[in-house]
Symmetry: C2
Subunit: 646 residues, 2 copies
C-alpha cells in the first residue's frame, strides 16, 4: 500500500483544517521561539544555542537534555510538512538557517550531535542505551526527508546522508563494527523513510540490522555499561533493564508490549516498515501480535498507552488504572503513526479505527484550543488537589504547560498534525482507501490512471459524507472505511444503493465515474462503552462515546466530586451541537444521580448502615480532547452506573 | 488518668492471649534469631554484630540502616513486657547479654549509637534530620524503662540515663547548646516514660524542649544541611522538606497531619504525654485537632494511616486511594499508642474505639497467624500481578515477608502485643475504665481502695461479656466503653438493670460490690459502611464490618477479579463461626453478583452498548487481619454495590 502524498490532498475548512491552521498559525511560530529561548517563563530549550555552539559561532555549554537536538528536528519536520500546504517564506528561512547551522556543526567525518560535541566528542557511541544519540539522528533524518520532499532542497538530506554513512560505518554485523542498537528506537523507521527516497539498499539494511541485533544474546547495553563503569544505583534501576528498552529478547521473539511506551511503538513502526519493504513475514507477525496486545489489552479508551509513570512504560495486560495513568502524548502520536504503517502492510479497517481514536482523543488532548499549552501526560481522571498533594500522581498535571524541560510532545503533535493531508488516503493498485473523513479534494495517480474527488463532511461532528468523483478511470475502486463503532449507515451512489463488497472494515465500491455522487451516512448516536471485566479498574463503570470521540465529565459543567455522579445508560442521552462552546462541540447530556453530601458532617469519615442519599441531576459531557480549556478543575472519563441492569 | 500496670492484669485464653502467646512463642525467639543474623534467606539485621563491633569485641563495619539499633531496642522492650506475664529465663539472658554489649559499647561521655561509632563518631549530632540518632536513643530509652519496670534491673536504665544526660547537655535553649530536634520523633515520648520513673524534671523539660523548638523560625534542619554540604539532589527531594518532618511550622500551630506518618503520630504521642504531665492546654489542643484530622479525614477504615508510598506519608484530607495506599504497620501501631495517650488526657470512648479498630485490623494484619511473616504495607486492595508488574504499587507486597532491610514493623508489633495487658484498663480516682474487652482478671489499687474483677468474653467473636466483682470498695465506679458501632445492647447487674450514666462513650456503673455479676451484651450484627462522599475513591462502594472488625474478600473464597463482585446491602448477611478456618473466625457471606466474562473475548478490551451480564454468586468475607494466610491471591476491602437503593 502506498501513501497518497500530502501534495495530492487539499484539506478544506473542517475539524482537521482547524487543527492544521492552529499548528501553522500558532504552534510552529511559537515553537520556533521556544527553540530560540525567546518565550518568557517557559522552560528553556537551548536547541539553537547548542547548535550555534557546536558550529563554533558562540561559546556556550550544552543546555537541556541529551536528546535536545530532537526537538529542533521534529520542529523542522513539522514545518516542512506545513510548507506543502501553506506558503510561509519566513518559516522556510528559519529552517534554512537551522540547516546552515547544522552544516557548520557537522564534523568532518559526518558526526552531528550537539550533546557529545559540546561535552566530550571522544565519548560518542559509547552509551547508546542512555544518551539518545541514534534517536536524535533518527529525528534529524526524518526532518531531512520531510524538508527534501516538501521543498526539493537537498542540503539537509545530504548532511544526514553523510551522518548515516558514518553510523553505517560504525554499526553492523561485520567484526570491525560495533554490534549495537539504539537505546531509544527511532532511527529504524527514519532509515526506511530515507530508503524510500534514496532506494539505497544500505539504508534499509542498516534499519534491519538495528532490529535484528536488538536483544541478541550478547546484550550490547550490559557490555557497554561495564565499559563505562556506570553508577551502581543507576544500573540497579528500571532504566538499566534490557526489557525496558525492548531488548530483553530478540525482537522476532517479542509478542507483548513492554517497557518505555514511545520506544516500544517507535520500534514497531520500524519493524512494520522493514517488513513492508522486505516482505519479511516474521517481522510482520511480530507487528500483528504486538498490535493485538497493545490495542486489545493495554490501551485506554482514549487511545492513551503506557500505564505507569515509572519509566513512562507499559505494565501488563488489562491493567488500566485511570488515576495513575501516564499516557504520554508522544506515545499516542506514535500509535497514530503505527496505524499508518500497519495499513500499509495490510488494509484492515481496524487500523484506521485506531487512527481515528488517536486523532480525536489521546493525541490532541495534548494541546489546548489555542495551540500554546501542552500536556505531557493524559489522565482519564484528574482531581487537581490530588495532583498537587499526592506525589504518586505528581506526573498528572491539572493544567497544560507552556513548555517542558523534556519537550518531546509539543513538536511531535505539530509534525503529526502538519502531515495530516498525507494520512487521509492510501492507495493500492487501482484502489483509493479513505481512512480519515474530512472536507478535502484529492487528485492522485493510481496504477490504472488518475483519479480526483472531493469529500464534504462535518465529521467528526456528524457522520454524513458526500463524495463527488471529479475524475476517474476504468477499474477505479473507492474503499471507504466503515468504523467499528457504526451500528447503522446508508450508502448511495447517485441516490441508489451501489453494489459493494464489505471486507475487513472497508466498503469497496467499483465502477465510479466522473460526476458520481456518493452519500455515506454513518449514524452517530451516543453510546456507552464497558471495559472487559478483566480490567479491574473499570468494573461497574462506563465511558460515553459518540462516533470516534470519547467524552468526559468536567467540573465546570458538573461541579466537583465527579466520582459521586452515576448514570443509567438505559435512560438515553441528548446530543446537541454548541457552536460557542469549546470551539464548537457536540455536548452530551443525560439524567444522572449524585451521591449527596447531605447528612454528612465534614468531620465524619465513615457511616454505618447509612443508605446513600442521591440527588437527581443532569450530567454534561464534553469531548475528552477539549478538557481543561476552561480553567483548572476535576475531569473524569469513566463514570459510575446505576439502574436495574447494573 | 493512670495506666493499670500489666502486672495487675492477667489475660486468660482469648483472642488477645492468642496474639500474646504467638509473640512469646514465636516472634520473640524468631526476632532474636534475626537480630543475630541466624535466619536463612531473611534480610540480615546486623544489630548484634554492630553492637559487638562498637564494643570492640569484633572487627566489622556497620551493617544495615542508620537506625538499625532501634530494632534491637524494640525487641528488648517487647521481651521485657513479655517477662511480666511469662517466665522466660532464656530470653532474659539474651536481654542481659545485649545490655552488657551496650554497656561495653557506650563511650565514656555516655554516647551510644553503633552507626556513628562504627563510621565516624566525630560526626555525631550533625545530621539529626536524616540519621535517626535521637530516634534510636528514644527507642533504647523505652527499652530501658520497660526492662526496669519488668525486672527491676537498673543497668540498661543507668546506661540510658547517662546517654540522656549527654543529650541534655548537647541540646537545649541555652546559648552553648545546639537548638535541634530529632528528624524522626520518638525520644519525646520516651523521655516522658523516663520521667514517669525518675520524676526528674530535667527529663520532662528536655521532651518539652524538643517539641517547642521543632519548626521554629530558625529551621535547624536547613542550617544543619548547609553545614554538611548535603547533596543537591537529596536537598531537592521530599526528604529535605521541613514539613515532611512536621517542622514546617511550630508544633503549637499545627492542625493537619502531614509528612511521614509514623513520625507524625510519634510526635503527637510525645505532645499528648507532655500535655498530660504539664497540663499545657495549647499542646492538648494540638492533639485534639490532629486527632480529629487523622481519624476523621485521613484514616482508612482498617485504621491504616499514611496514604502514599512517597515518603510513607500523609497526603491530604479525604484522599484515600485503596490500591496505592501505604498504611505502614508501624503507623497503625503508633495510632494504637496514641489512643492510650489520648485516653489518659481525657476519657472519651472514641479513643478506645480507635484502639479497637487498630488492634483488630490494621496492626495485626502486619503479621501472619504463625507470627513469622510480616507486612510493612497494608493495602485495602491487592492484585498480586499488579504488585509484581506495576512499579507504582511495588511497595504493596502480595505476601508477608520473613524480614526487611528496614525491619521497624515486626518488633513494633511484638512490643505492642506483649504490652496488651496494660492496655485493657485505665484508672482515674475511683473509676476503672474498661477499654478493651477480653478474658482477664484484674486486681489493682484505685484512689479509694483495691478492686479486683474478672471478665469473660469471646470478644471480638461476639459481644457478650460477663464481669464479676471479686473485691470492691465504697465509691468504686466501673466505666465500660460503649463502642460507637453498637446499635443495641443490654446491661444487667445481678440480672437487673442498673442505674448508669452514659457519658462520651462510657457507661459508668456505681455501687458495685463484691460478688456482683455484670452482663454486658453488645449486639454484633453485620453492617456495611460507606465513606464520606468527599472520598472520591470509595464512591458507590461499601465495606463490610462486624463489631470492631473490618472484613475483606479474598480470592481463595471468591475467585479472582474481585472488582467484578457487587453486593446489595439490603439483602442481609449471614455470619457463621468457623473454628477451623483461619484460626477460628466468624465468616460472613451474602448473595452477590459477579460481572461475567461470558461474551468477552480475551482480545477484546471494550464493548459498545453491551449490557453487563451478571452471574449470581455468594460473596464470602473474612476478617481483614487474617488475609493472605492461605497463599497469594487477590484481596479487596471496599466492594461495589448494586440494588434499587444504589
Amino acid at each position: 500500500m502506498q501513501k497518497v502524498s500530502s501534495k495530492d490532498v487539499n484539506i478544506r475548512p473542517s475539524f482537521l483544517r482547524t487543527l492544521m491552521d492552529r499548528v501553522a498559525d500558532r504552534m510552529i511560530p511559537y515553537q520556533w521561539e521556544t527553540l530560540n529561548d525567546l518565550v518568557p517563563d517557559a522552560a528553556p530549550s537551548y536547541c539553537i544555542r547548542n547548535l550555534k555552539a557546536a558550529a563554533g559561532l558562540i561559546d556556550a555549554p550544552h543546555g537541556g537534555c541529551v536528546f535536545q537536538d530532537s526537538d529542533l528536528a521534529k520542529w523542522i519536520e513539522a514545518a516542512s510538512y506545513m510548507l506543502v500546504w501553506r506558503d510561509d517564506p519566513e518559516t522556510e528561512k528559519h529552517i534554512d538557517y537551522a540547516v546552515e547551522l547544522m552544516e557548520k556543526a557537522q564534523t568532518g567525518d559526518g558526526y552531528l550531535n550537539t550533546y557529545y560535541q559540546l561535552t566530550d566528542v571522544t565519548k560518542r557511541f559509547t552509551n547508546l542505551r542512555d544518551n539518545h544519540e541514534l534517536y536524535c539522528a533518527g529525528h534529524m533524518l526524518e526532518a531531512a526527508c520531510a524538508y527534501y520532499e516538501a521543498t526539493g532542497k537537498r542540503k539537509l538530506l545530504d548532511i544526514m546522508s553523510r551522518y548515516v554513512d558514518l553510523i553505517d560505518a560504525t554499526f553492523g554485523p561485520e567484526e570491525n563494527k560495533k554490534h549495537g542498537y539504539p537505546g531509544h528506537e527511532e532511527i529504524e523507521l527514519a532509515l526506511v523513510k530515507l530508503y524510500s527516497i534514496t532506494r539505497d539498499e544500505k539504508h534499509l539494511r542498516l534499519a534491519k540490522y538495528f532490529i535484528d541485533e536488538r536483544g541478541s544474546a550478547a546484550q550490547y547495553f550490559d557490555r557497554e555499561a561495564e565499559q563505562r563503569a556506570s553508577s551502581y544505583a543507576w544500573e540497579r534501576s528500571v532504566y538499566a533493564k534490557n526489557v525496558y528498552y525492548q531488548a530483553g529478547s530478540p525482537v522476532r521473539e517479542q509478542f507483548q508490549a513492554i517497557g518505555h511506551a514511545v520506544r516500544q511503538v517507535y520500534l514497531l513502526i520500524g519493524v512494520a516498515e522493514v517488513a513492508r519493504e522486505t516482505g519479511d513475514e516474521t517481522l510482520r507477525t511480530v507487528c500483528d501480535n504486538m498490535w493485538k496486545n497493545i490495542t486489545r489489552r493495554q490501551m485506554y479508551i482514549t487511545g492513551a498507552v503506557g500505564q505507569t509513570a515509572f519509566g513512562e512504560a507499559f505494565t501488563f495486560d488489562f491493567d488500566l488504572p485511570n488515576d495513575t495513568v501516564y499516557g504520554e502524548t508522544c506515545a499516542s502520536i506514535a500509535m497514530f503513526f503505527l496505524c499508518q504503517s500497519m495499513i500499509r502492510l495490510r488494509p484492515l479497517g481496524e487500523y484506521g479505527d485506531v487512527m481515528d481514536k488517536m486523532l480525536y482523543n489521546g493525541t490532541i488532548s495534548g494541546m489546548n484550543l489555542e495551540g500554546d499549552r501542552f500536556f505531557y501526560v493524559n489522565p482519564l481522571e484528574c482531581i487537581p488537589e490530588r495532583s498537587k498533594k499526592s506525589q504518586i500522581i505528581a506526573h498528572i498535571k491539572p493544567e497544560r504547560q507552556k513548555w517542558f524541560g523534556c519537550a518531546c510532545c509539543p513538536p511531535n503533535l505539530a509534525r503529526m498534525i502538519a502531515n495530516l493531508p498525507s494520512s487521509v488516503f492510501m492507495a493500492e493498485k487501482n484502489t483509493l482507501y479513505a481512512n480519515l473523513f474530512t472536507c478535502c479534494d484529492v487528485k492522485t495517480k493510481l496504477e490504472g490512471g488518475s483519479v480526483s474527488l472531493s469529500a464534504d463532511t462535518r465529521y467528526p461532528l456528524d457522520g454524513v459524507m458526500k463524495f463527488e468523483i471529479k475524475e476517474s478511470f476504468d477499474g477505479f475502486v473507492l474503499a471507504l472505511r466503515l468504523p467499528r463503532w457504526v451500528r447503522s449507515y446508508t450508502l448511495t451512489v447517485n441516490g441508489a444503493s451501489p453494489e459493494t463488497v464489505m471486507d475487513e472494515g472497508y466498503l469497496y465500491i467499483n465502477d465510479l465515474k466522473k460526476g458520481d455522487v456518493i452519500l455515506y451516512d454513518l449514524q452517530m448516536p451516543v453510546s456507552t462503552v464497558s471495559a472487559n471485566p478483566r480490567v479491574s479498574q473499570d468494573a461497574g463503570l462506563v465511558a460515553v462515546k459518540r462516533g470516534p470521540m470519547v467524552y468526559c465529565l468536567e467540573e465546570k459543567d458538573n461541579g466537583d466530586m465527579l466520582s459521586n455522579l452515576s448514570i443509567d445508560p438505559e435512560n438515553g442521552f441528548e446530543a446537541e451541537f454548541k457552536q460557542d462552546k469549546l470551539g464548537g462541540i457536540v455536548e452530551i447530556s443525560c439524567p444522572a444521580k449524585r451521591i449527596s453530601l447531605n447528612g454528612w458532617d465534614e468531620y465524619e469519615l465513615y457511616a454505618q448502615d447509612r443508605k446513600p442519599v442521591c440527588e437527581d441531576c443532569t450530567a454534561r459531557f464534553v469531548p475528552y480532547y477539549a478538557w481543561n480549556n476552561r480553567g483548572k478543575g476535576e475531569m473524569r472519563v469513566w463514570v459510575r452506573t446505576h439502574g436495574k441492569e447494573r
